[in-house]
Symmetry: D3
Subunit: 335 residues, 6 copies
């Protein structure tokens, strides 16, 4: 039994000019809906075939700036204003988006750890398979819009995926630069090959990621940065007209250098950070301390930085368990 095709289906015609607002549906046979589907919103805005850019939001269900900005494009961008084809998927991991959870409530999977997916796997695996096997072959570029999610506060930034091909890497850097985010950072995710951006890079697509603030909320400033950044990349790629609009930010690329860049909790308790985002910090200095509220007579435990640089991210919820990421340091990227 060899099955290689997705069982997802759509009434969108990828080859038709104009705007089509629709869905791709994945059959889902569960207790309270034996013959139903999971409907992932999918919009095509087309005026010619090249270039094709995929705009993806809702990779994680608790990251909102991307979906909000992509919704504005779905409702507001006229096909005549486009040169080429936009495939807009504002809430790709729909079950997680509806639940406002990082991972899908259907199978407890992190969509961004399921690529390239499985056509007969669980729903999350079916969706990532659809993206990698149906959408990626249609496209020249891929923009994956993340925010920090419920657990992290992050400097709004454009994210560069590591790339072994120097030519593609250069194109990726140029596109990331075009986003004009306050910060640019290369993130390797511990080398995990199962993310959508690493899969896109391996498929040869120009690839841009983002981290837009976070903490599970929506901030007016991050929406503005995201709206401008997406438009800038589309201008850079020639899909919409106009010059890239300059933003203010830190010049040069940073990188999360390795496992020492993460300050991990060593005990269960409440983490009190000593620094705000963007603060310069030195290796070996205190990052914050963990309090034991149920036993206030016990002295708090201090955590220290394992690498120097600037505070790029910090944990949002006060409560921590051993292994939780409390602080992340970004260091300058040396070429």
């Amino acid at each position: 039994m060899t099955v290689t095709r997705s069982i997802g289906f759509t009434d969108i015609d990828f080859d038709r000019n104009g705007k089509q607002v629709g869905f791709v549906s994945f059959p889902s046979s569960v207790h309270d809906d034996a013959w139903g589907v999971i409907r992932v919103p999918l919009t095509v805005i087309r005026n010619g075939a090249t270039p094709t850019v995929i705009l993806q939001g809702g990779n994680h269900g608790d990251e909102y700036e991307g979906p909000i900005v992509l919704g504005e494009i779905v409702r507001g961008l006229r096909p005549e204003a486009v040169s080429g084809r936009l495939i807009v998927v504002p809430a790709v991991n729909l079950p997680a988006v509806e639940a406002s959870r990082r991972v899908s409530p259907l199978d407890d999977l992190n969509f961004n750890r399921t690529f390239p997916g499985d056509p007969l796997g669980s729903t999350t695996q079916q969706i990532s398979h659809y993206v990698s096997s149906v959408l990626f072959p249609l496209a020249d570029a891929f923009i994956d819009l993340h925010s920090g999610g419920s657990s992290l506060s992050i400097i709004p930034s454009a994210v560069l995926e590591p790339c072994a091909d120097p030519a593609l890497d250069a194109r990726n850097r140029a596109a990331v630069e075009a986003f004009q985010a306050p910060f640019k950072v290369q993130i390797a995710n511990f080398g995990d090959p199962r993310t959508s951006t690493s899969t896109a890079v391996r498929a040869g697509l120009i690839t841009v990621g983002t981290e837009m603030a976070g903490t599970g909320t929506v901030t007016p400033e991050a929406v503005r940065i995201c709206r401008r950044g997406v438009a800038n990349v589309l201008r850079h790629l020639g899909v919409i007209e106009g010059a890239v609009e300059r933003g203010e930010g830190t010049p040069g690329f940073h990188t999360i250098a390795g496992t020492a860049s993460y300050v991990m909790a060593s005990e269960s308790g409440i983490f009190e950070p000593y620094h705000e985002l963007g603060a310069p910090v030195d290796k070996g200095t205190p990052a914050g301390r963990i309090h034991f509220l149920e036993n206030p007579g016990r002295e708090p435990t201090e955590l220290v930085f394992g690498a120097g640089g600037v505070v790029y991210g910090k944990r949002h919820p006060g409560r921590v368990r051993p292994g939780n990421c409390c602080m992340v340091v970004a260091s300058p990227l040396e070429d």
Copy 2:
């Protein structure tokens, strides 16, 4: 069968000078602990009997600045530095504090809606009964340290409980003023009589509340404001030496004027606020909009302010349901 006494017990001697770091224990007979107790940390720092001030933190379990600052007092304040008696309860709603939840996981009750409590009720009711029937009669003043909790972002502020007795009201205003928070606000909680501060006022205690930022995290700035504010009130009451340390902030009292001060969600979706905390806003102007991410072709719904003033609080989680509090406006308090 008439029972009026708490079944909570403690080995703290409220009449002994010096510092005692201990617990008050409430018998709790549950499936996995038939003969166990819930242990609420309780510290007495005593050097003479008058005045007696109760310092309470952890009323809600996801508000951390108060417990952190009270833990510093438990570990660091010497009895010789005190004139009178401090009863410090940094994590009064211990089950909620351990769970980092607003409400207790034991009975799903909001501790601050259970006063005056019930000696044979559920654990939350037993604790509030202990506070109102054992601690309040020992005290002259009561400081209840809140933050915004998981769902709200709030301007750090000292909070005035409405009081029918003009003399006590004046003493409360002076104590609230002494806290030297960036903002001072009277909050009536829809007139609910079941809060700890309203119960304290009815018991004749000088009463100060706070709201220290929020969103379920710990911020360095809010910890500093809380630490200074608690010390200031203790100085004001003569419990520790020194002059009140001035902070910077908005002069005068504000108030949450009524139900029109709250902007409530009308639909399920993701709320995008248009304003930051502290922004001046007018009645009838837009407060933000609700997005429907699962259906990006549908236009967002806009919410408007029902009262004018400054944005005092806003919802933190992006996800809203009908009835959720999205924005709160504070208006100047007129005497």
Copy 3:
């Protein structure tokens, strides 16, 4: 501390003519919404003050015909067509309606076992207190629209609440008769005084209940019966014009005579009924049998009727546990 007033608030003016579509809001301070409310839809359609009729749906959250028909009235009935005042509450137990559950997910309480309610109790108790203390005193008549809910299939019927006052009982019978349902039945609910209809009767209101099919679904036929029945009662009471529209059905009143009228499961398994709704049955004859699917070699256990009459209700889900109501028999009511 004496509190007798509801903390629910509304912007509906019960004394203003015309149609007002709004909400009554109950403050609800929970983990993910510290300062929010539960919003219960409430509409007043008024053209003069007398008579005042309360139309209530959504007492249980999985009974849909009543709310559907009341929603049609909210959207479609013009005030000019009314003589008197309608207070329409289509989804009174809103949290249960949103969850499609019989009981409220907030406190696991059955709204219809909480009357007369408690102004400072849990949300369900606050709502029932609002109905009994705010709405009942405004009204002359009360219509409470039930269906069978998720667990029962019932003959569509108008329901008579037992009443100790002969004069009111006669008025109730006339109003129940006016509904023109296929079946008329008196139900005593084991004599429980905590239902809304028993409380309404004790308050002196003309009271009509219903059971409109059930099984947690919506049936076109039951919607039609309910729509006609509500209009008929309003005509009978003189609130809207026109003559009562005749329906077809069983003449005379039946009654659930006592505990012997219920066939209860004696084992855990799958219940196979032997009869359809409306079938005449005799005391002592078989009602159905319980199968043991995990052990198919074991003989099924047969259940028998404890009273004779017609099959008025039967359990919908196949799975039963001991004590589950499998069948209900209605017997002719003797006066």
Copy 4:
């Protein structure tokens, strides 16, 4: 490490004549039973080896007619009355049957999406592997008895699995015809190869499926249709004596033609259907509407049919979410 054999074990001897009522056991090492098993009931009634027919019920745990009728065969059919071998598995997905859930509570998997299974996978995968690797090779024919389950109401019908082999297809059609159900329909399940009937067909077995009413209940009429149909197929195959007993029903085969045959919910709310099962409907006409009970002032949303034919199935629970299957249309099958 190559493992191809099931770790399930049984004390049934498939080669012994007579009736054996037993179990096949799958080791299951979980928290509350480290060394236990899952016991799936399995009965063999044998009188010679040919033909061998597998009778399977409980593929989904909330479909009861099949298990009830197979239980009658287990208890009542004498080996002497059989010519060949019956392998009866009335509750194949035992964990789901015990929970009365469509999917297994052990691993949240839909048994009918796990074929051909995995000998070292989760319990559901182990069971489907046992059926496909141990039972299928023993058999000539396979009858899989479904009902509509908790979420669907369906016209009682015999179901034809699509088959690429014309000779087998003809044998399947004859067997389906022999069931003498009120309705005959070909269902492709969106082309999913992971069902038990599609796997049986690929294995060359004569294959008959059913849908016996549904809504998670047991109906006397569906039990009668199922009892007669199973006996009829066994007569048709020569396993038991006698002529096929004629039933009344729609002549000819229907088919669920494609994705347009399903009416899917577009919003969250309560679905009110406009039609009963069996009603003839046209493409583009209204199927029903979705009500918004929490906001009765909002107009309901109407759904339309995407294909014409007869209403073959409809959703049972009133509550719907986007993507839920509300109606299914069957069209005449053209050869």
Copy 5:
């Protein structure tokens, strides 16, 4: 609205001689059973009216020796062998017994903290109200059969409830002595008045409690002790014939002297006890230690005894949280 009578109903006739095996049923209207009941098994074995002895098991749902022995009496004791009346309730807290949980899954209440109950409260409160308001007035003596439950291992013992009335206290001591358990202990439950035995004593009944081993299992030895003990008390009271059968055990009464008798966990971790049940221990000596398995480099924390005596109970589950009861010491009772 004054309601004082239970809504529980039974078909047992307490005034009829002979054996009746039946149930008392409490109406329970929940989501999956709108008109069902909770059925508590109740048996009367009667041969004359005096004395009347209530035999109660299943007060907590995870204590099995009492229900097993009372089931033997229900099935095996002939009315002719009885002089007086036995009211046997082997599984009084039926919902907890079915769930094998200490507390009821219906309302999370500990039955033994709900006396005297509430006729219109939750199911647990309705059952305790039935026991105290219907059964107690019929009886002369009350035997409440406990074991240690899931969380405790306890020396099998007969338990004396403290009693303010010297005459009744003497009768209680004689009955407890008659049980002939290996150990006799007075337990005050922190003075809580809400237990069934304290309520029985206040009602003037001769009262005997037990603790039969525990840890949520059944032990052959504890079943033997319990069987003999119940028979012995019935002989002592003259209900059945014969002399009290002597057991071996510790002479004299012990007592749980106060809060210092309990060794409570101070940290979260795994408790390793140093002593077995029955070991003599001194105040201030080590009782055991708590290990931190997730951090094996951290030294374990040692706990010490706060009182001397013998180890009467110890915690069964390895996992502890602060406040969990780890050890209980019994000291000689001085008169």
Copy 6:
């Protein structure tokens, strides 16, 4: 995309002499910790390279003697006392250990059914992959310390894994003998190849397993046996000095002979065993009976032994469901 390496990382240097107490960390991106890790404690005590022995505890999270004894080694054993290298992993299945559950709460997987693991699978699969692909190649011997867990009470014993290679089998028997447990038993786990010990044997490691009492508690006696046994095996392997310390116990090996050695529950109820651990029993004799507490008038069902030998294990929780393992019989192992 070919990935064969683990994404777990550690700062332990396996080639450095001395003691290193650290962790191996597995990236885990979940809702409340987007960039965190699962930290599994790992200690190396090294003084030369040969032999290398892996000491593993916490395979299941509710088995405590192994982790306690390995923690003593981590804290107390000096490198100078070692000849070779110890790799100590006291809580290998850390998420299960923290939850005190047999299976991991992260993915509901039984760690001991996941070997050889999957580098990109779920966390449990990643850990077992790390053990089999990183640790096993470094080692000469493997000791896997189990207890009975929450569901079983077992005779403390050293366990022999079946081995096809006679030379390795002899070395395994000698090492198991050296443990000097009260009982020695060969266990085949139904032939499942996914356990850590079967994988170790296939990898050619000298392999010793244990079962140290159980029931989810810690017993002083089992800790002593485990402490002595681990030291004995290390002495036997020459890692630490000294002669093997003799224990008392049953001579010769026993074996769980096959599926007939397990007494499985046939009904749901409460199991009352008739025998204690170690009792000699005959095939066909009664093992115990199942009581139906909710229906005490029903006769209990008796279970019988399917094989003779001694009672090696018995179920701990009183509550049983069909298929639960109630008793296990060990028979003499014949070579």
